[in-house]
């Protein structure tokens, strides 16, 4: 995390003279395969889909007008941002202590904990989501246990609603907030906390006035990552959510697969893309493009 925004080349302008800038393009040939792959299998189809949004069924912006004025779609947008926001907040609250623990644990224990987190991340997403279904449903493990113990009389509604989506997605997003946070926290000199306590700060004050401000870049990077990923999430909301918690990705799938309304599907996809790019622009503006990747690799 040594790269601050100040060391990033500003807007691609050559830092010193012409020759180095030319040399910088020497490696271009090597990126060509990846570039072509992206162009043909990502950019082209996306553009094609976006074109349909303004061409079908008739040329014009009617799909976008419909998308923005129909109450159902407004509800879906609201759901999407609510879920993404709640999941981001929950991941941060749950992830911060873990990231801190990772930063202060002795090496071997930290490696073990890392292993656990990464293992959960590498386990198949669908399998993990199904596991949550088994736990959360009315006849599931949690409700059965609570009813057997006598804490509740009727099953708690933990699935097919916002609660189910939030629980499942927070769990899946945790690593993406822990990893950048950990990178930031580890770079903080523990001596500053000692200094704070020497100056008379209690634990809360040391956290709020010293640790938290210093960890903000990691908080921001992690939150943005989780928020953006959550916006376009499909599997977990589809399985743990209900019809009334439908998110954008589900709507797009429904429009394209069931209704064959590719114009509307394209329009919804376009809106999702614009929001995502806008958030990415925010991140680049305030954190520098290197931040998130540097944090993620930590």
């Amino acid at each position: 995390m040594a790269h601050g925004p100040s060391t990033m080349p500003a807007h691609g302008l050559p830092a010193a003279g012409r020759a180095p800038s030319l040399r910088r393009w020497d490696g271009l040939g090597y990126v060509l395969p990846a570039f072509l792959l992206l162009a043909f299998f990502f950019v082209l189809p996306v553009v094609a889909l976006l074109l349909r949004s303004v061409l079908e069924p008739t040329p014009g912006l009617e799909n976008f007008a419909k998308l923005l004025t129909t109450p159902t779609y407004a509800q879906v947008f609201l759901n999407t941002f609510t879920v993404a926001g709640v999941v981001t907040l929950a991941s941060l609250l749950a992830g911060f202590p873990v990231a801190w623990l990772l930063a202060v644990l002795p090496g071997r224990w930290a490696a073990f904990l890392f292993g656990v987190i990464l293992l959960s991340m590498w386990t198949n997403l669908l399998a993990r989501t199904y596991a949550w279904m088994v736990l959360l449903q009315r006849t599931g493990v949690i409700n059965r246990a609570l009813m057997d113990v006598g804490l509740i009389d009727a099953p708690l509604p933990l699935i097919r609603n916002l609660a189910g989506v939030t629980i499942g997605m927070t769990y899946i997003m945790l690593p993406f907030v822990i990893l950048p946070l950990h990178a930031t926290l580890r770079a903080i000199d523990p001596a500053v906390l000692q200094a704070a306590s020497l100056c008379g700060a209690n634990r809360w004050q040391a956290f709020r006035r010293v640790l938290l401000p210093l960890s903000l870049p990691g908080v921001a990077a992690g939150s943005l990552m989780v928020f953006v990923m959550s916006l376009g999430y499909f599997v977990t909301p589809a399985l743990l959510g209900g019809a009334s918690t439908m998110m954008l990705a589900e709507l797009i799938a429904q429009l394209v697969q069931s209704l064959l309304d590719w114009g509307m599907g394209g329009a919804a996809a376009f809106v999702l893309l614009v929001v995502t790019l806008a958030l990415y622009a925010l991140q680049v503006r305030f954190l520098g493009s290197g931040r998130m990747t540097a944090g993620g690799a930590g």
Binding site: A243, Q257, L259, W262
Partner: protein
């Protein structure tokens, strides 16, 4: 399953040279139903046609079907679709007309054949219930809406399709002959009353899981899926009162690479033998009446066509005309 077939094909290609083997692709909805279709139709078809492999793909995805046809090179040769979609697809020019020189149109129940599609099988939406959920078994669609008498969640088919709206109207006291045109306001108002108690199932397997586990107490199900549950000994009951018939149809995507073979496949699938075998494996009813003679008594008893008293045919022509507008309203209502 598919991997195995592809491996087999690959080996056949190496052995016989590329010119001999032809791979046609049959796409359906997966699960127990597609396994049965493979056994009843694809295996004997391949046996009769030397050098032809019938590969399985799935699940059916209308978006993919449309994309393939528009791109001009459909990978699928025969696709199992819902009846109302088959009618709409024909209107949109997504499917080939059926070659009735190859397929015997007269042999098929006229309810289940159109110029562009032949029946795959026909089934009923029936009232299914978990026997442990309620002291008295539910007997009518009205019971599904009576949450005092029958507590617990109600399972309904998630997608906009013929069935749930009709059930709501019947439960509300509409006479079967007055169902169409559907009174959508009334149907949605009726569904609204139990909306908080509805769980939606998007696939047959999901519906089975919901009912067998007791996650849902009762609801709207495909009769074949309940039959399969009962065969496994799950505590599941069926009420056939006012069962609603619908059908899956077989279509050939426009521009299919093996169109001629596909037409022969349709002939095989709708033959009395193919239909009888499928019915035996799935408890879905044959679309070809002559198949009845080839079936044993036990199989015949479990079929929807043994429950014609009070049986109602869902009106596919009505649905094909109103599919879009009902879907808009259905999904809007669901998302509220």
């Amino acid at each position: 399953m598919r991997t195995k077939l592809i491996l087999g094909t690959a080996m056949a290609l190496f052995a016989a040279g590329p010119a001999l083997a032809e791979d046609m692709v049959f796409t359906s909805w997966g699960g127990t139903t597609q396994d049965a279709q493979q056994e009843a139709w694809a295996v004997p078809f391949a046996a009769d046609h030397a050098g032809v492999n019938v590969l399985m793909d799935g699940p059916t995805d209308y978006g993919k079907l449309k994309a393939m046809v528009e791109a001009g090179s459909p990978v699928w040769d025969v696709v199992d679709v819902e009846y109302d979609f088959a009618v709409q697809a024909a209107k949109e020019g997504l499917v080939e007309p059926v070659d009735f020189n190859v397929v015997d149109r007269k042999a098929i129940d006229p309810r289940f054949v159109t110029d562009h599609a032949v029946g795959s099988f026909y089934y009923s939406f029936v009232l299914g219930y978990n026997e442990g959920a309620s002291s008295e078994p539910p007997a009518s669609w009205a019971d599904v809406f009576d949450t005092d008498k029958h507590p617990g969640k109600r399972a309904f088919y998630k997608w906009s399709a013929p069935g749930a709206l009709e059930i709501a109207l019947l439960a509300d006291g509409v006479a079967p002959k007055d169902l169409y045109p559907l009174d959508l306001d009334r149907a949605f108002a009726k569904l609204d009353a139990i909306k908080g108690d509805i769980v939606w199932w998007g696939s047959g397997a999901e519906s089975q899981q919901l009912l067998a586990s007791g996650e849902a107490s009762l609801g709207q199900f495909w009769n074949g899926r309940l039959y399969a549950l009962q065969q496994e000994g799950a505590p599941v009951g069926i009420s056939w009162a006012q069962n609603l018939t619908a059908a899956d149809m077989l279509v050939v995507p426009k521009g299919a690479k093996h169109k001629d073979l596909a037409m022969q496949f349709l002939a095989r699938a709708t033959s009395p033998e193919g239909q009888a075998k499928l019915a035996e494996l799935t408890a879905y009813a044959p679309v070809t009446p002559a198949a009845q003679k080839l079936m044993d008594e036990a199989t015949v008893k479990g079929l929807p066509d043994q429950h014609t008293e009070g049986q109602i045919d869902l009106d596919m022509a009505y649905w094909a005309d109103h599919r879009g507008e009902i879907a808009d309203r259905w999904y809007a209502w669901q998302a509220q």
